[in-house]
Symmetry: C2
Subunit: 555 residues, 2 copies
């Protein structure tokens, strides 16, 4: 408490700013910590061998007793994907809407972690008390149903986190963003707004999800044989529209791909997806139907090499071999970084002779609001302070410029990095310090045992391979007893480079003998002499720099 | 010669179909082989450590005496980049326009290969005889000056290769595509057209290069301090427009980046770039001028990590540190696959506080014609047969659909792969056989010594690293004399995984001793026993599959 009786409020991000992915924001109100989202990120190209990346939550663990709960804004991986890792170390209540928690529960179940977790369902009407703080929830539109924004009422004013949002004027399920509630929150005074920057670079407004239904239905009506639709498993509105198009063209729907099967079954069970029982068939049963009676819903819209679509394209899918009469709709845009893997699959599909619908605007739309929608949010909330979140730096930057056009003062905008603390005292804000933040790399079941050194080695190995040099020395006089043996992997074709490797071998012998003559006995010195000589020789000969690993054995 | 006295004509690609890059097409007329272009490709993500990829020219080498010349359509890397590798093995005349050969000569000089090469300059008026065949050249527009198409007159009819082209109605240098000549070629009858498919997916027409001049000039007029423009080094028209904008805003131009410096100097020397002598200054001299008197032209528009722009963004450029008053114009679009590296640099630039112009349509246009231009070419040439080239499969496919709308019969369109031979006899075409084709990977100075096995190993190494297990055995009884020693790289943090590695070590000892007890003596069997046991253990413990390299030494 400050002198005036106002709680100190601190806001920071442990993930999701300066990057797309692993969203995690923390609002400190007095002594209480409220966490918003707990997402993962898929690794960058240079994070070789890494499966997923999650936020470093050391700060939360050091302040375990102060963390009062985690609010999940919606069920996308970049908002809930780290929950299994976090909840293992931090057993606090999980707040989320019915669908969001449905997806999270399934995820925890797979990891044997669903017991003893305190799930708390929220909705648009919820008024929560977390710790000693009142939290309001407001409904938004996004590319997954049941997404919400969060309003944390501190006695300095409200801190609003939008979650991911767009304003869809024709939502597929008829469930609109609660603009009225947002306006009310704005009227009551917003101290600080944290808002989604994903599409800050895109002018205008996003296309309504329901407009896509028409594009999809059109493709269904012109299809001669089976229709195969690849989309994001979590885009339940899209899936609903595919189901609807299937019903109007008298098709059964089969689902392929583990994540798609899982989400479809959760969504049906919880009432977010409306599929007549006789419409859904098993993928094993497709051969019982004529081609023009079939829709196949599948994962793989991002060109994931092991996905169902990818297997179909490569002729490696158990049930589905693409036929020239098939129509394949890629109802998605490649996420930056996935362009090449997607077009590779698309090309394979084209080669089968099938009809391919790809890259057409009428079969996909974004889940994130464009500039006019971001401004609408700003104008509804009328925040005193503004923190653009959920985006790479240039998106945050452009979002902050939009905020200026909506009347937020330049000096009231904070372009934060992970860990930067925005501190509010007496309704005034400033950057004050930094909490620890970072990436935790997950490779297999190891958490945090892959870091810079391991990655540096993997990068080195990936470029020019490795040469292992083994030699056995006599303990007494360091004379060579056996070897040197040189074994290489990922360096050159051994069969075509025999001379090179023979010369390398001679060089090691000469180098070692010279060391012995010079009375250089220490292994580290011997090794670095071998490494230097060999490295120089190989670079001269090949212009490559393989990793060189000298190993000395002693007998 | 066939019975009717008509030469047999065969057309195939050694690179450039089913892919973007390493263009090389071969037209066989009777006994003569005429090669069109000789380009390189930048490696795919999965070609780890590879620098560039060139076409496999075994077929040309096996028919060395029949190859009569290489015609280069323009000076881009994907059309001339393999010349140094090819000319070393195949010393035939090189045909190209003045600028194209100017760039090629510089490239050969760097490799000490410019002596004894027979350069033959061509232009729009050229009528060549190559071997016994007449070859006509026609001028096109592209994102580099002096680009041409090629018409090979066989006595079955003409084979036309468009090169890369767009129809620019306002070319910067006032040099128009020679539509008249194209129409004339068409009137005389085209047997087969090979045409650029790059933008077959894009409807409409491409924006004129000169329209970009306005966008660039606008940005110059609003710039407060220095203007830094990153673009493709070879886009001389773009560079001309940057020079013009600099002159109208009273700025000197400094060039940074080796390839940019090289091409600018060639283009000035050959008269393709018009820069008043006092406008061009050395990059070392920028500090002599006020910020608003300076333009800096630089490479790095594709986010290349070692490029000048990248070094500026990272604060590692010798002369240029980005200032908040700078305006940086990225006058290029990311080539597919480069999106993430470009936005990484853009974000760094934004972080400096500078003005960044990126992703805006008014500062970049394509050099390849869109659908309406492709149709115009088809209608001018009115070919009997059509081979869409220069593109990935879906682009070829869509281009062939465009051709059908222009009256080319479906069965007269050939969607070829590398090596597929389209054979013409008596004015009729069919696919007849395949010549050898493929990728040659260049890593350092090695040509062809990196292939599938080496790449597979690099991929393995890049994912989970390597464990080397060394043990010295007694020759007489196979008893362990020294070791086992386990050394890992790129697998786990050794310091945090001591127990794991100790257990692994014990496991190797146990496995080896068991082998000895079981009288398993052969090294290959010992090694595979070690590999299997260790692999299973490590996967159980970590869910990773590092490469395991057992080495047995004998004393």
């Amino acid at each position: 408490m400050t002198k005036q009786g106002l709680e100190k409020v601190r806001v920071f991000s442990l993930g999701g700013v300066g990057e797309i992915g692993k969203n995690m924001y923390v609002i400190e109100v007095g002594d209480d910590l409220i966490v918003i989202d707990s997402g993962l990120m898929f690794p960058d190209d240079d994070m070789l061998g890494v499966d997923v990346v999650i936020p470093d939550i050391s700060y939360l663990l050091e302040n375990k007793h102060r963390v009062k709960g985690i609010i999940l804004t919606h069920g996308h991986e970049d908002h809930i994907g780290a929950v299994p890792y976090v909840i293992k170390q931090l057993n606090v209540p999980l707040y989320g809407t019915k669908l969001t928690l449905g997806i999270v529960k399934e995820k925890l179940k797979e990891n044997g972690l669903d017991k003893n977790v305190d799930f708390k369902i929220i909705n648009n009407k919820t008024k929560l008390i977390i710790g000693t703080t009142t939290v309001n929830i407001f409904r938004t539109n996004h590319s997954i149903p049941d997404s919400v924004g969060v309003c944390i009422e501190t006695n300095q004013g409200s801190i609003v986190h939008t979650g991911d949002f767009k304003f869809d004027q024709n939502p597929v399920d008829g469930v609109y963003s609660d603009i009225g509630k947002m306006a009310e929150i704005g009227e009551n005074g917003v101290l600080c707004l944290l808002s989604d920057s994903t599409n800050a670079e895109r002018p205008g407004v996003s296309v309504s999800e329901s407009a896509i239904g028409q594009g999809i239905t059109d493709a269904f009506y012109t299809a001669k044989g089976r229709v195969i639709v690849a989309t994001f498993a979590s885009n339940i509105h899209r899936i609903q529209q595919v189901v609807n198009a299937s019903i109007s063209t008298k098709r059964k729907v089969a689902v392929s791909g583990r994540s798609m099967e899982k989400i479809v079954s959760i969504a049906i069970e919880l009432g977010y997806l409306n599929v007549p029982t006789d419409t859904l068939i098993k993928i094993q049963d497709v051969e019982r139907y004529e081609d023009d009676e079939l829709t196949i819903l599948t994962t793989g819209s991002q060109g994931e090499p092991m996905s169902a679509l990818s297997r179909m394209a490569k002729g490696a899918h158990k049930q589905i071999a693409i036929r020239p009469t098939d129509t394949i709709i890629i109802s998605a845009t490649p996420i930056p970084g996935n362009e090449k893997s997607v077009t590779k699959i698309v090309d394979l599909l084209y080669r089968t002779g099938a009809e391919v619908v790809f890259g057409q605007k009428n079969v996909h739309t974004t889940g994130h609001g464009c500039q006019e929608e971001l401004k609408l949010m700003l104008n509804l909330m009328k925040p005193k302070y503004f923190i653009p979140i959920h985006g790479e730096f240039r998106m945050q930057h452009i979002h902050s410029q939009l905020a200026h056009t909506c009347g937020v003062k330049k000096e009231h905008t904070f372009l934060i990095d992970k860990g930067d603390v925005v501190e509010f005292t007496n309704n005034e804000a400033r950057i004050n310090g930094k909490v620890h933040s970072g990436n935790v790399l997950i490779d297999g079941i190891g958490i945090g045992d892959v870091g810079n050194i391991v990655l540096r080695d993997r990068r080195l190995l990936s470029k020019d391979g490795i040469l292992v040099v083994v030699v056995t020395l006599n303990k007494a006089n360091n004379a060579i007893v056996s070897g040197p043996d040189i074994i290489s992997r990922g360096f050159v074709y051994v069969r075509e480079s025999e001379t090179l490797l023979e010369e390398a071998n001679k060089l090691v012998t000469v180098t070692l003998n010279k060391c012995i003559d010079d009375n250089i006995n220490e292994w580290s010195a011997l090794k670095s002499n071998i490494r230097d000589a060999l490295s120089r020789f190989l670079f001269e000969q090949t212009r490559r720099r393989p990793m060189i690993l000298p190993i000395i054995m002693e007998v």
